[in-house]
Symmetry: D2
Subunit: 428 residues, 4 copies
């Protein structure tokens, strides 16, 4: 009997690990917690559990399983997110209305698909199937982060400030004064080089020109953000993009999402409950509009024309920080579902990976020569390339082995429910 392909074996093990991690994230939830959709942009945990399963069923099983039959014919529509090539979709804002199938049925759906995939992977499968399986796992890891951010939004709507998971003691840290790390720029290459997995939007790798620049050596902290608030930063139109100013006024925004002031005392809602605002930890849950306004205010305040970095500046710096494609930082595995204070200065940018997604000054657009994947998975990234800004680096809710220097996340300029923070940059 022939030995199995090690790639298949490795992927099988990884499949089990990733799927188990998703289940572990949902474990502390009641059926009600897993059911509710708190806004159109967010989805219920139950939906995430089902949709990630649908992805494997549709893009792997349907292609590779002999005699494929769907687990439930209605699930094809119910748990399709946005793949027009696969057919109709249940309307996104109504995901939370589907109370049946219940959580138990969705978990049974997960098990059934897991079993069928195990059957499929008992034999070697071809490269394309392995690729799609890997894509399914990367996809599931993205939804792991969304489970946490969507759930945080839901619990954050509850006046009782419920706790998702008790806090793990975080080593107390204190943020050093902001330092700057300089880069020469010049002709540099960005984009994924084709070794290992990457989303289609990360390529092709290509050369660009960078002018000399500096990056702040850590993320902006909550304490620094408080200074912006106290200086009237939210009410002075000078710092704001016109669209940001209109957004801020229409929505009554005067602090990051989840911040609350009681008298002179600020607190922050986290997945570990409501806690006093820590001044040394990175600020998160700010929109691009706020991040950009902060940079303008800070430039005027410090007399140093700082700004947000471009995605190319960020990636060029982060390439140095990646060792054998492994990014170090504070990720979801730590159990601390909030950013942490930066480690001691090391003469290099800290916190590039993990802690907080970093808003860049770059719009989310295709790289030169970009081609979406073939087939329905080609809808994964390309069709969102308008009216979104790029974020880089992953966050405290990102799985460690999911992030890369070339990884491009993207959200509209007003999105705040992700762990989105700020790193400053400047021209040299």
């Amino acid at each position: 009997m022939a030995a199995m392909n090690p790639a298949t074996l490795a992927l099988r093990a990884r499949y089990e690990r990733v799927r188990a991690q998703t289940a572990a994230l949902a474990a502390p939830l009641s059926e009600a917690d897993a059911q509710v959709q708190s806004m159109p942009d967010a989805s219920p945990t139950k939906w995430h559990l089902a949709h990630t399963t649908w992805f494997f069923e549709t893009f792997v099983l349907e292609r590779a399983e002999p005699g494929f039959a769907p687990h439930h014919p209605a699930f094809r529509v119910l748990f399709n997110s946005y793949y027009q090539g696969v057919g109709e979709q249940h309307p996104r804002p109504q995901r939370g209305l589907v109370t049946r199938p219940g959580l138990a049925e969705v978990l049974a759906y997960r098990r059934a698909v897991d079993d069928r995939l195990a059957g499929l992977l008992a034999r070697d499968v071809d490269e394309e199937v392995l690729s799609l399986l890997e894509l399914g796992l990367q996809h599931e890891q993205q939804h792991q982060e969304l489970i946490l951010t969507d759930l945080k939004h839901l619990l954050g709507c509850n006046p009782l400030d419920p706790v998702y998971r008790p806090a793990v003691a975080a080593p107390a840290g204190s943020a050093s004064p902001l330092g700057w790390c300089e880069f020469d720029g010049g002709r540099v290459a960005i984009g994924h080089d084709g070794h290992g997995f990457a989303f289609d939007n990360e390529g092709p790798r290509h050369d660009i020109l960078l002018q000399p620049y500096a990056l702040a050596d850590r993320l902006v902290t909550q304490g620094e953000w408080l200074a912006f608030i106290e200086a009237g930063g939210y009410t002075d139109p000078r710092w704001w993009l016109a669209a940001g100013w209109d957004w801020r006024r229409a929505q009554g925004i005067d602090a990051p999402l989840y911040w609350r002031r009681d008298g002179s005392c600020w607190s922050v809602f986290t997945l570990h409950g409501r806690i006093a605002l820590g001044t040394d930890v990175p600020v998160v849950h700010v929109s691009y509009y706020e991040a950009d306004a902060y940079a303008r205010w800070r430039a005027a305040h410090d007399g140093l024309p700082c700004r947000l970095p471009t995605e190319a500046e960020w990636e060029h710096a982060a390439q140095r920080d990646e060792v054998d494609g492994i990014a170090a930082g504070h990720f979801v595995e730590s159990g601390v579902l909030q950013p942490k204070a930066a480690p001691p200065p090391k003469g290099e940018p800290r916190q590039l990976f993990g802690d907080a997604w970093e808003w860049t000054a770059s719009a989310y657009l295709p790289y030169p020569g970009y081609r979406p994947w073939a087939g329905a998975v080609g809808e994964y990234n390309g069709k969102f390339m308008v009216n979104q800004m790029v974020l880089r680096g992953g966050s405290c809710a990102t799985p460690r082995d999911h992030i890369r220097a070339s990884y491009r996340n993207f959200f509209p300029a007003d999105a705040r429910w992700q762990f989105s923070g700020v790193r400053l940059a400047r021209d040299l």
Copy 2:
């Protein structure tokens, strides 16, 4: 040892019965079913379970229990519907976002308040407390109906057409041709006469003048409504109030709520699942706009100037139908959660009580000399007396001992998620 007041004893027994009935309605539901709010006008079952309990806690225990302390301080806001006199309210459209307290905690809240009320009622209590207790029970019965209609709306949003409760076999009936019952009118009294419980909006009893009129001897059926659809009734502005026409076009309305056409075949979603459209059963889930348009079309179609009845016309007729204050009809206790075909003609209006709430041509306004109850319960009815139409008679989702000839229900002209149907009237 003195014997207890029989009124207290009777109310105690009734309390147990009504509360148990609410729990029985919620029994078939998953925690997810009980959690979700499908539109701002509807509330989650869990919220109904808690709010009815809050009502007893706030208006009975807080007034009468020595050393009263709230079950949970946050519940005062969380489960207050709209009583400004009691304080702040959690925003209505966000009731479905509160996943914690969970269903088990809400059921524990119910049991705790039940226990405390049992303690209170172990001794005689004064008249005012008895009154408020009775009000609490009437209030809970109203919410029993809302549990069913709100839940129907939620399940009706689910493309899988889930079943709330399997159908109970209903005796097959067939609707006789529409007959007319004549009334002389003249000076008649309407409004509650003060014997037994009534809401404040049912009084004072007062005389009015009625011109001679006739009422249809049964409700309009689904088959008759189908003729209206097939005659193009929904697309001819001649039959519609201007506001109704605008509403119909903006919402794309072309049939009652829960009706669906597949090819030439109509089906209806019910709490017993989706079933084929029965032509002999009363139409329900129509708005006032539709009811009014139907009457105009029917008048032109039949050459008989029919219309909707006024609430006084309806009540005058229904007074004869009430025997010792007991209304006969098809109510929630039957287990059939859809209207049934009318019983055989009897020379009197049939289906006045039960089956379907009947839209009247009367706006919901105070009777001459109306005074709201004193205190926060004065907000129960009076503050809604604008932009609503009166409905009469109860439905298949109403508890039998909750309805009266003088009972005034009210909804906006575009509401469709109640069991609202149509009885025709005409001048003589």
Copy 3:
């Protein structure tokens, strides 16, 4: 040659007078003033000029003129307000976008139709044509008032507070303390008796029962309203209908329309420009919600359970005030386009006619036995009988010979741009 029918002759003279009055109202306007629509509920003066002409063209000329041909084929759609029976309508919110035909062309349209009607009326015409002609004149008088209120809204949006017409010196008046006039009630008749013109919604005349009641002997003044504001009336939910409270908060309402506070000083925008708030003149430009809240607050404040009158109570009182069908009061002919302080007390209700339309507690519904007119003019009133409240008595912008005791005006509960004011009533 036979003498002409005196009715025709009288109507011909009246036609000229009414049409000239419309033109006079538009005379002070620039083409821009006459063009702009400041909100969907309002219409441009140019549109009013054209629509009233369209009415005569469509309902009189088209029926009676031999060889009728339309003045301009597009006008049939462009200047049809809401008559589905006549055909399509240009969308109401886009009336202000039609800059061509220009004002001169619309005035030419008026003259052309006037000439053709003069031709028609050079000979006797039948009763039906005379009726429709009279309806056209009554219709035009309604639009004369709308010209003023719509224009006031437009000019009121202009930060420069433009003057429509310089103020005519008004005799200074001072409001006496509020007195009460008592009425026995009993079986009384309301509705138009068929002598002279009336709209279809004023009939049939019918008996109703009234309980004994009193009416305030004058309108509520701006000074009294100021006391309501200063007592916090706008921010205390006790006084407000639930829908009114929601409306108030969503719209940020804290004073009547056109009121403005600069420091401690209140001013009011009028068609004569912005003027200091006079405490003795009647308050206008309040919604039904505000009128109702005021009455509840006043009842609590005075310890006298006052309320708004029903339309029947109002009409019964006003019948005594009409002499030979002629109502006395402060109307548009005075040139003072604001209400005036009440004349000295006379033991009868003052200001029943003119000054301000009085919100009643009655929903706008058909009288018993109501039949709309036949044909497309049947859409005039009947199709608006839902979600509106009745106002009575005319205002300072109403033509004197347009108002009657039986006249029923109607607007939604949140409308404020009419000259709508408040008279109190109470039970005896």
Copy 4:
């Protein structure tokens, strides 16, 4: 007496010419045409006339005129577009409500400011004032184009299809088959080089890397667009960005703005009235979403992976087309206010300048090292750098001496009321 600075003399002459051209554009309008605002994004011609004057008053006279006093104190707010640094602004969507000052007063305002500027320029003024004056003229030229596009939108809302200006006979042209012009790319410089006027957003000039590419040698024609419509391009989600698809469905978009189908016959509304659709002239009034969808469809249809060009690709090509900074093309001076068929092929891209603004695939973002101008004029461009796409090349409504290869126009992805068209590009 010293001779005057030739720069001042030249600018004085240019000032007169530009201002006269604005007046000429407004000359065919009635006061009503000049008054109305047809949507929040558009402004009344009267407002454009006043705002451009306000710009000179605020940024030139207020700075340089001895003893400056404002023409009218209220105009500072009324005609300020968005300069927070200057103070409050009248709300943009309400510009059309200001009927007073009337058109005559605004024209008088123009003359008064012209006279005062003539006084100022009778003597030499310093460089900064000359700069701001030039900026004011460039600004006025931008508003000249907006006058035409905003007016087209207004007239296009009129069912009578009014003519702004009779058509000038256009030489009949016919579009050749689409050809491609190739470019090597490499390290190239884009951005303005500092000679002559440029907006701040055009600099700094900087090097970038371009991969080899080709540009279509003419604009996409209406005939080619019709093929897209007839192939079902508007109803196939494969071609659309997700946001574009949602926009298309929500707005019911199925053809470019101003296109209308009557049976099988297409017509187009133009400033010369409604005309039959010409297949050889460039398509205009398409959104970025449509332009992008067209390119995807065309790529699939032709089997050639074409796309929209980046702004750098466009500018690099256009630099060759500019002779001594002068762009040749079909501009507003021709009197033909619609694009024209391309001239015969010449082996170079035709129609780069004029005819239609060309949507690029580039988001509107700052160039590396960008600094906004100092002071309130710094709000001119920088604060709009989010959620907009860049357009290049000017249109048939652009003044000839206003456009440059480095000129960056920008609009949101859903804007259609500008003369926006499509040029294709592809990788080599």
